[in-house]
Amino acid sequence: MSGFPILTLLTALPLIGAAIALGAGRRARGVALVTALVSLALALAVWTQLPADGSIGLVERAAWAPSLGIEYRLGVDGLGALMLALSAIVTLMSVDAAHRVHLQPGLYFALVLALEAGLFGSFTALNFFHWFLFWELSLIPAFFLIKLWGGARRGPAAMQFFVYTMAGSAALLVAFLAMFAATGSMDFPHLTLLASSGELEQTVTAHLGPVMVWLTLGVLAGFAVKVPMAPFHTWLPAAYAEAPSPVTMLLTGAMSKMGVYGLLRIAIPLFGPQIAQIRTPLLVLAAITVVMGAWSAAAQKDLKRVFAYLSVNHLGYCLLGIFALAVPGTDAATRLSQAAALNGAVLQMFNHGLTAATLFWFVAILQQRTGGHRGIDNFGGLRKPAPVLCGLMGIALFSSLGLPGLNGFVGEFLIFRGVFPLAWVAATVSVLGLLVTAAAILTVIEKVFWGPVAEHCAGFPDLHGGERLALAPAIGLMFLLGVLPRLVLDSVNPTVTNLLAHWRF
């Protein structure tokens, strides 16, 4: 398909913006805002241009290094386009939230935009080399953003984040080199096609011996770190807590989705049968991620760590849905459950991105007003002096809790609808997560909003007009998707159907 190279433009745009922002000094935030807005408009344009049958559209191809199997190949389906939209939304929110960057604003916003470019690139790439380049590229701005603008313990946090993710990437790289050595291709659609006929496994085994399981583990490790899945999640609380809150919004809202996306675009299509073989331990890990994530959140005293662990918990539901559907059955009932679980997981990715980013935004607002305080016990009775702030943050918290009528519920319902028939034990254990999450979130409300007004909170300023206006779209979107999830699912469902048709377990 030829035509206007909108995906290339989309990826290039933040890079251009970054270059301008770098020299714009104090006006860098304005540059970043405009760039993020235009990117969002483009991402939404992509969303409307998707092929109706759920296949990959807006394809751009060009020879790059044919002898190395490297081709410039871009394209998106409902999954990719949804992630583009999410990245654009979260970047805009992050730029919006970061209006107190006094140190090197030019560099800060340039790095944020570079990160956005990394996200766009990896969500549109259809070739491993290209994808991996952007996967790594997004890491560098994230590292510096934590390292230079982070909290007191930013050094170790940034290092752990970077090194851990690099270790995962190394595993991914090795796996793909092996695949390339065997098949001579690094092209996702091509490899998916080989895998769906079973040819991939035969070829790899013929060339390299019985290494398929090891490759699977390598690829899974790469993504398990990124998502993260227990027990590979320990970098996350430190990184999320030490990063400046607007950067945490990007990390949790968009970057964590790269891991889940990778599972859906790479791990499941290429290694379906192997994943189906180790499905039980994977489900155990997913359930642990869900339950222990929630429980760890309940034990935290720092709001950012609470929300960080809640992110672990919420992405655990995605993992649960994805691993549960890795079953070989092809009867109608199984198909329906798989479709429900996958729709739920994809929707959950978006919902989590939106809600978690909004929550960290609120943390940023709380920190601004108290000179950096963010402990659960640092506040008290905020509802009295700041009713609007508490009302809106309350909505975001209940969205995270999974209250029907808000966005969070729909994804979780669909995931449980799909997982229960396929893996009822894992589903039953994981509902414990729903319960403990609620306990953690209600504790936040009780300690921060309710109770007698703490002395130093008496004059706490409520949200002013500009902040209300900035937050309104995010809160509005939570309501909108809670009531009309079709707005997203109508484009996701064809893709889900299409993906499932090409996956073999």
């Binding site: 002898s67 190395l68 140190l103 560099l107 790594e136 560098i140 390292k147 050094g155 752990q160 851990y164 690099m166 990437s169 790289l173 080199l177 050595a181 320990t234 970098w235 222990m292 429980w295 760890s296 309940a298 034990a299 935290q300 198909r335 329906l336 459950s337 798989q338 429900a340 729709n343 739920g344 009302g391 209250l403 029907p404 009528g405 519920f409 319902f413 669909l414 449980f416 609808r417 229960f420 028939p421 589903a427 509902v431 414990l432 729903l434 319960l435 609620a438 306990a439 209600l442 504790t443 009780e446 309710w450 007698p452 007004v453 999830p485 079709r486 469902n493 889900v496 159907t497 499932l500």
Partner: protein, 694 residues
């Protein structure tokens, strides 16, 4: 009067998308929109907020009456109305997730009850909350509650019901914690939400299971709904664990949701604490409507629970409903005996009466349980509002030992409260509670599985009469023991009391054996007037038993507490007789303490353990690996300088020169990470070239 409850209900022909069914959504939607509008109002717009709330609910009441009349007229023409309107909400794979609303006698009568009782309580609230600073917020939450509750009622889809059910839980949470600055209110709200959510996660599992099995969550959909014959047959044929069929297992899971919401043992602990909310909230949400939602839910999914019963027997899920209900009825009544807070006594009484409703559903069918639900809604709302009036009159005093003699100071409150109390006790013939409770006892007497529930419920009836007599004697008799003199409440509060009192008596008329209108209406049979119904020998005997139980309770209560005026610090007269038993009952049989020592302790320990694991076990492992990496990075730095040419370093230097801060923050590590990356890319390129050649 007693019919075999397994006898199928007269099935009407289903109509789809009629006008009456199509406009049902307006009934919940209008109060919800009002809630949204009030939320945007300023705190100072008190009048407009109350007007919006009352106006919208009046509109809903009007529509509900229209729907009710419509169903009654359909019934008069010899049919049981069953009209639905369904639509696709989302699509996943090849299947649709559908939502919809249903109009049948069950939803019609609930709609009228909820809107009518709700409206009276809204009006009462304008008086009760007059001086509250958060007046507008109160009406916002109340309207949201009304909308969500009405949504539960009209839902023709278990999913829609669940969604509204959770919203009802949210509003309950917000209203219990309405006086959020009180730590006790904040704690009670959280406890209520979490305890009901324990039930809800089981409900969710039951729901997704039902969805997976029957392919739809619609109740009725022209034969393909999950409560219709086709789907039920499939569910019955499907075995699940523990000898249950899928239908039995799903039914039991859904019942767990009802246990949470309707305050049944062992999840009853939140309801007494919920009395931290303003009294109108206790009346509307925690007595009349929301807590009854669990009972309504069971009535809605009754086909699922009933099917598979052998003739006259019971199913596993219905037996569970019965036993839990009967146990709760006695258990809560016992605790109510030894409470001193006027609202807590009523709260335990609500728990107990909800147990009666559950037992009635389990043993007698939908009509028996629902009749008690409706009569209870009126007389319990009356009692709570009366208690609110008394609290108001006594300057926010809630301890019954510090009241007394109110019958002369607050005559209207006294008269209406006495009517409510006699209705709750089940005083023979004149009061609605008598007829609805006797329906349950009658069903219990004929229950083929066991006779114990019957005796438990009769005992519970005597206890109910006893603790209510104690309360009324303390509050309204004897002499005034407070500081400032009590005063009667304004007309805006007493008028709703009078209206509710009228219904607390009159509603009994529609459910007597002489004219079993209610049952006939729900089941779509003709309601005949038959004076012989009263003379049935079995019924007379039962009436004697239940009346005796009530009289024993009343007499004992009066004998112990009538016209005495014990001081607050004086031990209760029953406490002197049996101090040990009394202490146990007063301390609510230590269920809360048990949970504190087990569930809550477990929750805290696990939280700590999870945190510890993360910080030290996994974190330690990662730190170890990281240390290796750091050493390796040092090595690579050395190698770099010699192996890779200086190009990259130069680039780094430029970068650090470019950003002043950047260079300050760099302590060497940052470059080494970049070097790792560069190495990795170089390695990638090298291996690619190598493998290409291979």
């Amino acid at each position: 009067m007693q019919e075999d409850f397994t006898q199928p209900i007269v099935i009407a022909t289903q109509c789809y998308g009629t006008f009456a069914a199509r406009i049902l959504w307006l009934i919940p939607a209008v109060p919800m929109m009002a809630a949204g509008a009030i939320a945007l109002l300023k705190q100072s717009h008190r009048k407009s907020s109350a007007l919006l709330a009352i106006g919208s609910l009046s509109f809903s009441l009007f529509l509900a009456l229209f729907e009710f009349a419509y169903v009654v007229s359909g019934w008069a023409h010899g049919g049981r109305t069953l009209e639905t309107f369904n639509f696709t909400w989302i699509q996943t794979g090849a299947s649709n997730v559908e939502l919809g609303w249903v109009l049948d006698p069950l939803s019609a009568i609930m709609l009228v009850m909820v809107t009518f009782v709700g409206l009276l309580i809204f009006i009462y609230s304008t008086g009760y909350m007059e001086r509250d600073g958060n007046y507008t917020r109160f009406f916002c939450f109340l309207s949201l509650f009304a909308g969500a509750m009405l949504g539960v009622v009209i839902a023709n889809s278990l999913l829609l019901l669940f969604m509204c059910w959770e919203l009802v839980g949210l509003t309950s949470y917000l209203l219990i914690g309405f006086w959020y600055q009180k730590p006790s209110a904040a704690a009670a709200a959280k406890k209520a939400f979490l305890t009901t959510r324990v039930g809800d996660v089981f409900f969710l599992l039951g729901m997704v299971w039902l969805f997976a099995q029957s392919g739809t969550l619609l109740f009725y959909s022209n034969g393909s709904g999950s409560m219709e014959a086709g789907a039920l047959a499939g569910l019955l044929a499907q075995p699940a664990a523990f000898g249950l069929t899928a239908a039995g297992a799903i039914g039991t899971l859904i019942f767990a949701g009802a246990v949470g919401k309707s305050g049944q043992f062992p999840l009853h602990i939140w309801l007494p604490d919920a009395m931290e909310g303003p009294t109108p909230v206790s009346a509307l949400i925690h007595a009349a409507t929301m807590v009854a939602a669990g009972v309504y839910l069971i009535a809605r999914v009754y086909p699922l629970m009933r099917d598979g019963a052998l003739n006259g027997g019971s199913t596993a899920s219905l037996s569970a409903v019965t036993w839990v209900g009967a146990f709760t009825a006695v258990f809560a009544a016992l605790i109510a005996v030894a409470q001193n807070d006027i609202k807590r006594i009523l709260a335990y009484s609500t728990v107990s009466q909800l147990g009666y409703m559950m037992a009635g559903l389990g043993m007698g069918g939908v009509a028996v349980g629902m009749f008690h639900l409706i009569t209870h809604a009126f007389f319990k709302a009356l009692l709570f509002l009366g208690a609110g009036s008394a609290i108001h009159g006594c300057h926010e005093e809630q301890d019954i030992r510090k009241m007394g003699g109110l019958r002369s100071d607050m005559p209207v409150t006294f008269l209406t409260y006495a009517i409510g109390m006699l209705a709750l006790c089940g005083f023979p013939l004149l009061f609605s509670g008598f007829w609805s409770k006797d329906g349950i006892l009658e069903a219990a007497r004929h229950w083929s599985v066991a006779k114990a529930p019957f005796y438990m419920l009769v005992f519970g009836a005597a206890l109910t009469a006893f603790y209510m007599t104690r309360q009324v004697a303390y509050v309204f008799f004897g002499h005034w023991r407070g500081q400032k003199p009590a005063h009667e409440s304004p007309a805006v509060m007493t008028a709703p009391l009078a209206i509710l009192a009228f219904f607390a008596m009159a509603l009994g008329l529609i459910g007597t054996p002489v004219w079993p209108w209610f049952r006939a209406f729900l089941e779509g049979r003709a309601a005949g007037f038959d004076p012989r119904g009263l003379a049935e020998p079995g019924f007379l005997a039962l009436m004697c038993i239940s009346a005796t139980a009530v009289f024993i309770g009343l007499a004992l209560g009066w004998r112990l507490y009538g016209d005495r005026s014990p001081r607050a610090n004086e031990p209760d007269i029953a406490e002197k007789a049996m101090p040990f038993v009394w202490r146990w009952l007063r301390d609510r049989l230590y269920v809360d303490e048990l949970y504190e020592a087990t569930v809550i302790a477990f929750y805290r320990q696990w939280g700590r353990a999870a945190d510890w694991l993360d910080r030290w076990f996994w974190g330690g492992a990662v730190d170890g690996v990281a240390r290796i990496f750091r050493e390796w990075a040092k090595l690579s730095k050395f190698l770099d300088a010699n192996v890779v040419d200086g190009c990259f370093d130069k680039g780094c230097d430029e970068l650090s020169a470019g950003g002043g801060l950047l260079s300050r923050a760099q302590n060497g590590r940052a470059q080494s990470y970049l070097r790792i990356l560069a190495l990795a890319v170089a390695a990638l390129a090298a291996i690619l070239i190598w493998s290409c050649r291979a």
